[in-house]
Amino acid sequence: MSFDRRLALIVLAPGAVLGLWLLLGAGLLFSTLGPAERAAVADTVAPLMDSHGMLVVLWWFLAALGAGVLALRLHATYGEAPARLADATRVLAGDAAAPPLPPQAGAGMRALGEAINALAGQRRALEEDMARLVAEASRDVALQRDQLAALMAELEQSVVVLNLEGRILLYNARARALFRPLSQAPGGVAGAELIGLGRSIHAVIDRALIDHAREGIARRIARGDARASARFVTTTPLGHLIQVSLAPVRAAADDKGDVTGFVLLLDDITDEYEARSRQDRRWLDLSEASRASFASMQAALDMLDYPDLEPADRERFQAVVRDEVGAMSQRLTTLAADASHDMKTRWPLQDMLGADLAAAAAQRIATETGQDVDTVAVDADIWLSVDSFALIQALAFLAARLAEVLGAPHLALRLAPAGGRAHLDLVFRGTAPGLDLAGWQTCPMQSGDTPSPLTVRDVVERHGGELWLEHARDGSGALFRFLLPVAAGTVAPLPAPGESRPAYYDFDLFAASAQSRESDDRPLGEIAYTVFDTETTGLDPAGGDEILQIGATRIVNGRLLGSECFDQLVDPQRSIPEAGIAVHGIRPEMVRGKPTLLQVLPAFHAFAADTVLVGHNVAFDMRFLTLKETASGVRFDQPVLDTLLLAAIVHPGEESHGLEAMAARLGVAVSGRHTALGDALATAEIFLKLLPLLRARGILTLGQARAAAQTSYYARLRY
């Protein structure tokens, strides 16, 4: 509307101005005349106007029309087109993906349009470059982080990285395994309540020790020591000796930046220390006992020097000498046996299932000699402590020598326990005078094309073992018997990573200071959460229903830590109704012998320490927990968030906020529905999807989320 009026003004204004100009000119001329002249002009003009007035108006109208059209053209070219160009440029400025400007009318405008397009093109190219560089850089960083995490996972040593608050931002599986024996939890948790991302290291290592080490490092850094680090040994409550090396993480690569955290290298030196102490003790005992024995012998011999001894006295002193000599040799025998037991651990041997070793040796022998090797008589349960490469090389070497001497002997490998050790036999049929075990043992092994500086004897000694040749009584064959150390116990395998890469690091925690803020002011994305669920015998905790299973997982810095789980069946110490079994599938025999809730709750409490609890319809689960507060002595007094109430905030129009409906709505795949851990994991994913939706509604902090949940709770109550 207003546009039209403006356009009309643009068209009509030149005509009006022309008319005014004409009248003004005529008026001016008229005013210069005297009265007579005026009358004459009036007399001349009046009849002229009468006859040709329309012609004058038409003349004016034509001029006005021409001027109007010209004005319209000028406006279109120099008024509208720049405004359109400005609009289009503004669009282009706001959105780099917008199409370029179309060619403009008029040479000037065209040039202007092209210049703007060129600028926009440059900007687009720059942005693309930037995006590519950023993507590459973050891919590199992500790759490096993943490589670092993978490297850490493979390390033999336990590694934990801390921020300045002592919170864990990286650990490897070995670190958790190291502290697993410390866990008070009845199983199913695997120490996740002690070592986990965002958790405090002070739960397992005394704060005072770490502070002391940090002070030492700070002093050394202040003195200009760029490589300051500290080392201490601490004892765990179970008596393990842990050697800790603490090194600072500097912000800048040149070892000059601020300290932003610490790397802890942890070693369990209990066994090593005990072995050494045992050895020292043995030597000390031996030296003391020997001194005592020698003293008795010396004294008795001194007495025997007296020439005038009674025969009875002489006999007494001789008996003393005999007695002490016997005791000495007995002690030396015991010592030698103990020492050889310890010696087998000197070379770094690895634990290996005997069957695996036999299979690998059989294959190697088959490749080198072309002989099939029978491994039927291999005890499948024996774990050996071996240098497998050297041992297999020795077996292959002996088999090759046998093949040279005997042609094609039938070969077999046997493995059987023998006292505290194991017999590994290379059995062969037939015998010949050319069997030169002594010679074979001491010449360097040559297997295939690979020469080895080792001899068979070296390999045997490396194992603190023995090797000999045994002939069958009936002359049918013989065997080389290796006496080998067995592994002290089968090593518990480290937990295999789940489907997703286990989240063992979170470098964002380097900058974390959120913990110190008032809890209600903390942004939702920075809080550590424990998302949990329970399975119960029924729906009435006050009426005697009990928890059957607790499952929980953690969210730290907006990331679901699927590898830090709590999963524990609980003996309810009551019957389980059939109706419930149909839902959760937990049968009485599954919970028999499991810990009771009073044993499990302290462990769960530790797992959830310093976090906000999250659950779906969590009021139900919390009721079971609070009812046990007095009996268990643990209180869950941290803030609690309910995904059910949060869902009602972001989807107020939806009918159902059930777990399944929400999972479907938010695109969360649920596996293991109606197991506590399965539901907890689904709830955690739902919670993570709810966070941005809450943010869109202006709910940013824990306090805001709790307040909003309260209102939605009351809103629900009213309905």
């Binding site: 001194r291 005592a292 020698f294 003293a295 010396q298 008795a300 001194d302 007495m303 005038d308 002193f317």
Partner: protein
């Protein structure tokens, strides 16, 4: 007792001097007892620390050959108890020990032993050392009786 040969018995100096041998090893006690008796000492024997302490308090021996490692009360414990007991404080103590470490020796001297002899040792040297200590002690007592001067403890003697 038939002191007819061997090292010349010094009956004048040691006659009836009461000496306690405390060691749980019968094989060394048998020799030490035989020899000390032969040298003219009045010999008592204790088989462990408790017996040794009782014997010291009851019989007041001038000198004790005290084994450091005995079951129950160790030689160190006995030594400390003796030095703490005003009645028997002046008893001379020769600590016999199979412990050869410097720390053990320091503990023995710290506990108040007058001499510290590491096993094994020559019995003749031991007897000589015992006699020297007794002689010195006697001289010191005489001096103390005259001038109330402090008793000069004998220096550590080589094993």
């Amino acid at each position: 007792m038939t002191p007819e040969s061997g090292p010349a018995p010094n009956i004048g100096a040691v006659a009836c001097t009461k000496v306690l041998i405390a060691d749980d090893e019968p094989n060394i006690v048998v020799s030490l007892e035989f020899m000390m008796k032969r040298e003219g000492f009045d010999v008592l024997v204790a088989r462990d620390g408790r017996q040794a302490l009782d014997a010291i308090r009851r019989a007041h021996p001038r000198l004790v050959l005290l084994d450091a490692t005995m079951p129950g009360l160790s030689g160190f414990d006995v030594c400390e108890a003796v030095r703490a007991d005003a009645d028997v404080r002046s008893t001379l103590i020769v600590m016999l020990t199979a412990k050869g470490r410097e720390t053990d020796m320091a503990r023995g001297v710290g506990a108040g032993a007058d001499a510290y002899v590491t096993k094994p040792f020559s019995t003749r040297d031991l007897v000589q050392q015992v006699k020297d200590m007794l002689a010195k002690d006697t001289a010191a007592r005489d001096l103390a009786a005259n001038s109330a001067a402090a008793i000069e403890l004998p220096k550590d003697l080589p094993a």
